[in-house]
């Protein structure tokens, strides 16, 4: 037993030593990303190949699955590990701005990007977007009865057969904030209450919406374009609609990239942000599984993909959404989710 014990002790000490050792100095940039890992990692790998700067990508889970990265960023703000925050939507970046986690950076590569999708004070820059779309099960809904507006979620023909993700989290929360911003408190509240009154179901996440519409448990749902695209790639029987083309428009959800205050690798961080904001990156994100929508006009997209010009865009003040969300999360949305039973 003694030799075995000695070996175990030695191995344990070696492991402890390895555990505690900090990395040897190397050019690196630490990117906290709430963009889905399968979309973000190829971009990070390409940056690494192009610049030789190692990208330490820290991806996030869906917000309903864990206390996520945003909380880590907030807790680390006195001495952050992260250099860059790459968010799948601008609201998270707005929240971090309000909490003093970010510092402004206006990248030279942002030229050409519409300014309306970025923070007016320069704390985050919007690029490559998703859209909030309706998806319906083709086996349950014909072309003639397909929805064309988010108000169809309240329609009798979809009673007890419609779903959305929890509006306290993710892009659904951004959508709720956008509705309150665009429609006003009364009409937005009526919409959400109407959804529940029509037997609508609140699910845990956008991917759950995608899964359950695809299986036919629900006929109609609202989710993001990347969820819809993944379902189409898997051959699921779903149809996709960019809602309210004739009305208030479709909500565009741009990616947002931000520089962390007191970041440990400032030069590499700026290089990474510059890289993300290039037209080539938008093209890559459009061509990948995410099928994201370039915000910059003229960026090439695959043939069958929708461009920004083809969408009626919901007019939203992206810079104000974080404040709107903060207000409604603790108030109406919280109470609404309680009523939904989720």
């Amino acid at each position: 037993m003694r030799p075995a014990l000695a070996v175990i002790v030695l191995v344990a000490l070696a492991l402890l030593g390895w555990l505690a050792v900090t990395r040897p100095p190397v050019a690196e940039v630490v990117v906290y990303s709430s963009v889905d890992d399968i979309f973000a990692r190829p971009i990070a790998d390409a940056f690494e190949r192009a610049t030789g700067i190692v990208v330490r990508l820290v991806p996030d889970t869906e917000e309903t699955k864990s206390t996520g990265l945003l909380n880590r960023l907030i807790a680390e703000r006195n001495r952050p590990l992260a250099d860059v925050f790459w968010s799948g939507d601008p609201v998270r970046a707005g929240i971090l701005k309000n909490k003093g986690v970010l510092q402004p950076y206006r990248s030279p590569q942002a030229q050409g990007l519409p300014v309306g999708y970025s923070d007016p004070d320069g704390y985050w820059t919007g690029f490559s977007a998703r859209a909030r779309v309706l998806i319906y099960n083709r086996d349950l809904v014909t072309e003639s009865t397909a929805p064309d507006s988010i108000r169809d979620l309240l329609d009798e023909r979809f009673r007890n057969r419609a779903c959305m993700a929890n509006p306290l989290f993710g892009t659904t929360s951004m959508h709720a904030a956008a509705l309150f911003s665009v429609l006003g408190k009364q009409r937005a509240s009526e919409f959400l209450d109407g959804f529940l009154a029509n037997g609508g179901t609140v699910l845990s996440s956008n991917s759950e919406v995608r899964r359950r519409v695809a299986t036919g448990e629900f006929a109609l749902g609202i989710t993001d374009t990347d969820d819809a695209h993944v379902a189409l790639l898997e051959g699921q029987p779903i149809g996709v609609v960019y809602p309210d083309a004739a009305g208030m428009g479709t909500l565009i959800v741009p990616n947002a990239v931000a520089l962390i205050r007191k970041d440990p690798n400032p030069d590499a961080a700026r290089q990474f942000i510059d890289y993300l904001l290039r037209p080539e990156t938008e093209a890559a994100l459009a061509a990948g599984e995410a099928a994201q929508i370039p915000l910059r006009p003229g960026v090439s997209v695959p043939d069958n993909q929708v461009t920004l010009a083809q969408i009626t865009v919901m007019p939203v003040d992206y810079g104000a959404l974080a404040d709107v969300l903060e207000r409604i999360s603790a108030g109406f949305l919280r109470e609404w989710v309680d009523r939904s039973g989720q």
Partner: protein, 511 residues
């Protein structure tokens, strides 16, 4: 010179030691707990109150299912030998590795049309959580049962045959099994996953909302404290019942340990029980999880993820297990045979166990951020993940330690004291070899549990050092389901091999 005698004597050092260890284990949560300006009873009313009630219902039912399935299964598995017993035990342990939400997704995928909404939410949550609670109780029962001596089993067999043997072993193991069931129940209090899948509002989900939707750490901390207080109320009777009985000392004269018997009829029953547990708890949800796995391409695509994360996964599991066992066994040594201390310790650690992992992990992040850079090797490294995970599972380790130490004879330390054997020599030459098999199995068990704790890894891992379960959760939102299925399959296959290997080694160790 300090001899081994104080180990069998009361002393103030025990209370001090207990307090110190609990404080150390709780210390990561201090930065967040200190943000709580004041607790008011109102926090227990309204939405959070009703959510807590749901959580308590789930916890109670999970404890009952875990106990009444895991306990007899563990008894039978300890008593009867048959071909493939260790393989079945290893397979039955697998759910401990898997974050509960994956099992929930697996179950929901099995339903026709994925009609999760048609399952009563409470039943769905209980089934998913019980999938992990049953193996926890089974393993603990098995370990406890193996602590009986061969002569005790022989005496029972002579007195009344196999029925008497099963009764004896069941009675011997009921306290550790109950406490394991209690642990399994407490674990459900801090896990929001299944409740979200099945649409049930739970206390843990409310806390997650406070963290991840409202970013209100103060509210979340208050809710965590309220959850802990409720857990303390539930844990107290368990501690009062289990504390004094957690281990009856084995007479040192009886050193022939129990060996499972090859008895065809009972072996048949045992294998059927284990197979049913594996079928319901592992194969069915697993089949739902990996159903999308269509071809080898997904496996090829999964391989880079596995290669990138395998080392850190093993490291975090091993490290968490090692820290937990070291601290847990030290706590057990400090408590000794003092019944009152045992009751207090059990109650406190069960209540602390109810704290959501995010409390400890985020608190550690705060500590790391406020500390100087020279502290980074401890506060901001892979070590941090192992430390915080180890602290989280200290209650499991302490219970295994208490049970294990309780089955050591008090005479060993007394005769060592009489002969002037120094404390260190006694611990090294006598006690540690005796405890080693339990420590190894406890290390394995806690490593399994820690692997499934993605929340801690997400919040604490150094950039670029994530684990495989975390990678599964970060890709699953929009990765093709076949890729997620492939990652799950690789993860489980590797873990199953590891578990099987450890069961085999542990079995040989015991002889």
């Amino acid at each position: 010179m300090i001899t081994a005698l104080p180990l069998e004597q009361p002393g103030r050092w025990r209370t001090v030691g207990l307090m110190l260890i609990v404080l150390v284990a709780m210390s990561p949560a201090v930065p967040l707990l200190s943000q709580v300006p004041g607790m008011t009873p109102e926090i227990l009313t309204g939405t959070f109150g009703s959510a807590l009630i749901n959580s308590l219902k789930i916890a109670t039912m999970v404890a009952l299912v875990g106990l009444f399935v895991g306990w007899p299964a563990g008894v039978l598995a300890a008593c009867y030998e048959f071909c493939g017993r260790r393989v079945l035990l290893a397979a039955a342990s697998l759910p401990l590795l898997v974050p509960s939400i994956l099992w929930a997704i697996g179950w929901s995928a099995l339903l026709p049309g994925g009609r999760t909404m048609e399952i009563p939410p409470l039943a769905g949550c209980v089934v998913v959580f019980a999938t992990a609670a049953v193996p926890l109780v089974l393993i603990v029962t098995y370990l406890a049962a193996r602590g009986l001596s061969g002569s005790q089993i022989d005496a029972a067999r002579l007195a009344g045959g196999e029925r008497c043997v099963v009764q004896l072993v069941s009675r011997h193991a009921v306290v550790p099994a109950s406490i394991a069931a209690g642990l399994g129940a407490v674990m459900t209090l801090s896990d929001p996953g299944p409740a979200q899948i099945f649409g049930l509002r739970s206390g843990a989900a409310e806390i997650l909302i406070s963290f991840s939707a409202l970013y209100d750490f103060s509210l979340a901390a208050r809710q965590c404290l309220a959850l802990t207080a409720v857990a303390l109320v539930v844990a107290t009777p368990l501690a009062l019942f289990g504390g004094p009985r957690i281990a009856r000392g084995m007479l040192a004269r009886q050193v022939h340990s129990m060996h499972p018997l090859r008895e065809p009829a009972m072996a048949g029953v045992t294998s059927v029980v284990l197979v049913v547990i594996i079928l319901v708890g592992v194969i069915l949800p697993l089949s739902g999880l990996i159903r999308p796995l269509a071809d080898g391409q997904a496996l090829m695509r999964a391989w880079p993820v596995v290669r990138r994360t395998a080392g850190d996964t093993v490291l975090y599991a091993s490290g968490a297990g090692a820290f937990a066992i070291a601290l847990g066994f030290l706590l057990a040594l400090i408590i000794g045979r003092q019944e009152r201390l045992r009751v207090v310790a059990l109650g406190v650690i069960l209540a602390v166990f109810a704290l959501p992992p995010a409390m400890m992990a985020l608190g550690f992040v705060y500590l790391g951020a406020d500390a100087p850079a020279w502290a980074d090797p401890v506060l901001r490294s892979r070590l941090s993940v192992c430390l915080v995970s180890g602290f989280r599972f200290l209650p499991v380790a302490a219970m295994i330690g208490m049970w294990s130490l309780g089955s050591a004879s008090s005479s060993w330390a007394m005769v060592a004291g009489l002969h002037g054997v120094p404390m260190g020599t006694y611990l090294r030459r006598v006690l540690w070899p005796f405890l080693l098999p339990s420590a190894l199995l406890g290390w394995m068990l806690i490593g399994l549990l820690a692997t499934a704790d993605i929340g801690t890894v997400l919040l604490l891992h150094p950039p670029g050092a994530g684990s495989l379960p975390l990678a599964i959760f970060t890709v699953m939102a929009n990765a093709p389901e076949s890729l997620v299925a492939a990652l799950c399959m690789i993860y489980l296959a590797f873990a199953a091999l590891l578990v099987a290997g450890i069961w085999t080694v542990a079995g040989r160790q015991r002889g």
